[in-house]
């Protein structure tokens, strides 16, 4: 049982490049989330999806987009990366919009 997988584990990216962070869960959870974790700021929600086919904006959505074509996958795209998007990104999922969330191992992204 893998739970939640994220890829890549880490990435160094030039500013202005497009990047997609991948997230897959095998728990058949309806809801999925993307967070970024920054020192001193804790975890902040970027985007969420309560069910396949729907998405919503979290606290810090600017510069990011998501899609939810199926239950298992929830990719996060940076259309044109900027240095302020250097962070550790965590994907999470929950059975529904009211239950506890389970987190993936994270992707460490550095934008130069």
């Amino acid at each position: 049982i893998a739970g939640i997988t994220q890829a890549p584990t880490s990435q160094i990216l030039a500013a202005g490049r497009r990047m997609t962070l991948r997230c897959t869960q095998d728990m058949r959870h309806n809801a999925m989330y993307w967070y970024r974790q920054d020192l001193g700021l804790g975890l902040r929600l970027i985007h969420y999806s309560n069910t396949a086919g729907t998405t919503g904006k979290g606290e810090v959505p600017d510069g990011y987009s998501v899609s939810r074509a199926n239950t298992d996958d929830f990719p996060l795209t940076l259309a044109s990366a900027v240095p302020s998007q250097t962070s550790v990104y965590f994907c999470a999922s929950s059975r529904d919009a009211r239950t506890e969330q389970f987190f993936g191992p994270g992707t460490r992204l550095t934008v130069l």
């Binding site: 809801a31 929950s94 919009a97 506890e100």
Partner: protein
């Protein structure tokens, strides 16, 4: 608005001694509360959760937490620390008031637990 305050940014204990990580919350609703642990360069792992059932909640790895409504507290404890418990611990409240029905989690700033031999 809901909020979470972790009262200690760093806690240091000796192996085999008790652990106490303190958390206070504010909430206009009957809250759902969680403790997560994050080991270095790892994701967050759910330790335990409170969702209005028993006020004393038992979690994994010997941790437990007690919900005290009168004190608005949800402190995490463990009778005997192990070296492997060294990590960052986050107290989290679920904000049930968010319009649109998404599960907004409000994270405390974290407590870094060090365990010495």
């Amino acid at each position: 608005a809901q909020s979470v305050t972790q009262l200690d940014s760093h806690v240091s204990v000796s192996e085999g001694t008790p652990v106490l990580l303190r958390c206070n919350y504010s909430s206009s609703y009957s809250p759902s509360l969680f403790w997560y642990v994050q080991h270095p360069n790892k994701g967050l792992q759910l330790l335990l959760k409170y969702t209005s059932a028993a006020t004393l909640v038992k979690g994994i790895n010997g941790f437990e937490a007690e919900f005290k409504k009168s004190e608005t507290s949800f402190h995490l404890t463990k009778p005997s620390a192990h070296m492997s418990d060294a990590a960052e611990y986050f107290c989290v409240v679920s904000d049930q008031s968010v319009a649109g029905g998404y599960n907004k989690l409000i994270f405390g700033a974290g407590t870094r637990l060090a365990v010495h031999p």
